[in-house]
Amino acid sequence: MNKFFKIFAVASMVSYAFVPTSFAATTEQILEFRLERIPEALTDPSRAVLFSPRTDDIVDEEQSAKNKSEYFELIHNSPNNVAIGYAHNGNIATSFNYQATDSTPFFMYSVKKFVVGFLVADQVCKGNIDVSKTMGAMSSELSKTAY
């Protein structure tokens, strides 16, 4: 193991979420970080909540759908892209590069902000969150912060 990789490995153990940027990591190192080290870290109950699958049925990919789209293939063939997929009329199509598979948990970074935004909007619509209250009024912990 060379010195460069040792530094990367130590940094990965300390912080799993963001790619170290104090040096230029190679594509292979980033892939290993995102597709292997992060998923491994997330299995630690002190670092993540686990959601278990509800079915043993593995999604059957709509291979014909993938093949009929040249644009889908174009995206798939880009070396920058690890995985792509779409849901269309109840069908799901996925395609993977490198070491990614259909069971790989993809760490989606700030995409979660959108998911949390939806959950909040849903609770507002259900009448469980009062938007007229200040953030601090909704949470005693937040009242001690800038909110």
């Binding site: 509800r54 889908f72 892209n81 935004g117």
Partner: protein, 206 residues
């Protein structure tokens, strides 16, 4: 997209989006650092996680559930997921609001389809997503607007969704219900072209 309390990023040694993961601090410790919740000319704003993390406390205070529990009851149980999924927690054990959802590609697409269909079938949600979004927390401190947590296609406002910092995309078209997922592998940036790719793929599916 922006999310977070405005402050002078140059006064801080560590970018806010790295605090929780790099330093092992909790969300509350992050939020308790004195901020400048106002804008001044010349200040350099830091892309941050503050608003989404603050929302998690507002959710707990209002629903007695944390965001991961809400995700499980409101989404996960309804999508027939095929693989394990994960929601990152902070140093105090609270589910993080700003990042750290990890799901398989097919389950992400199921989440996307579910969310898209919920918006399409719920008049209240549709009104918000067709308008300016929801501002939680009153006026001056109303920093948690869903629109700030979404990327919207300026050519088609029905197409929007989430973006991760390495070029990870989950985009919806609420006029069709179609969903696109792209996981790119940029290091500490993303190519703006990734938006066009996602929107073009959504257009192709129409």
């Amino acid at each position: 997209m922006s999310s977070g309390v405005f402050y002078n990023a140059e006064e801080r040694n560590i970018l806010s989006y790295r605090e929780i993961t790099r330093n092992g601090i909790s969300m509350l410790e992050q939020l308790s650092v004195p901020k400048k919740p106002h804008s001044k000319p010349g200040l350099k704003f830091d892309y941050s996680n503050y608003d989404s993390n603050a929302l998690t406390f507002a959710v707990i205070g209002s629903t007695d559930k944390n965001v991961a529990e809400l995700f499980e009851t409101e989404i996960w149980k309804n999508i027939n997921p095929s693989h394990n999924g994960y929601w990152a927690i902070d140093a105090s054990g609270l589910p993080v609001g700003a990042f750290g959802l990890a799901l398989s590609a097919s389950d992400l697409l199921k989440v996307g389809s579910f969310v898209s269909n919920r918006i399409r079938s719920d008049e209240c949600l549709m009104d918000y997503y067709n308008d300016d979004g929801i501002v939680v927390g009153g006026d001056k401190k109303g920093l948690a607007n869903w629109r700030k947590h979404s990327w919207v296609n300026p050519q088609n406002l029905n197409q929007f969704g989430g973006m991760g910092y390495g070029g990870q995309v989950l985009m919806f078209d609420i006029s069709t219900g179609n969903v696109v997922f792209i996981y790119s592998n940029y290091a500490d940036k993303y190519d703006d072209n990734i938006f066009r790719v996602a929107w073009d793929l959504l257009n192709e599916l129409r």
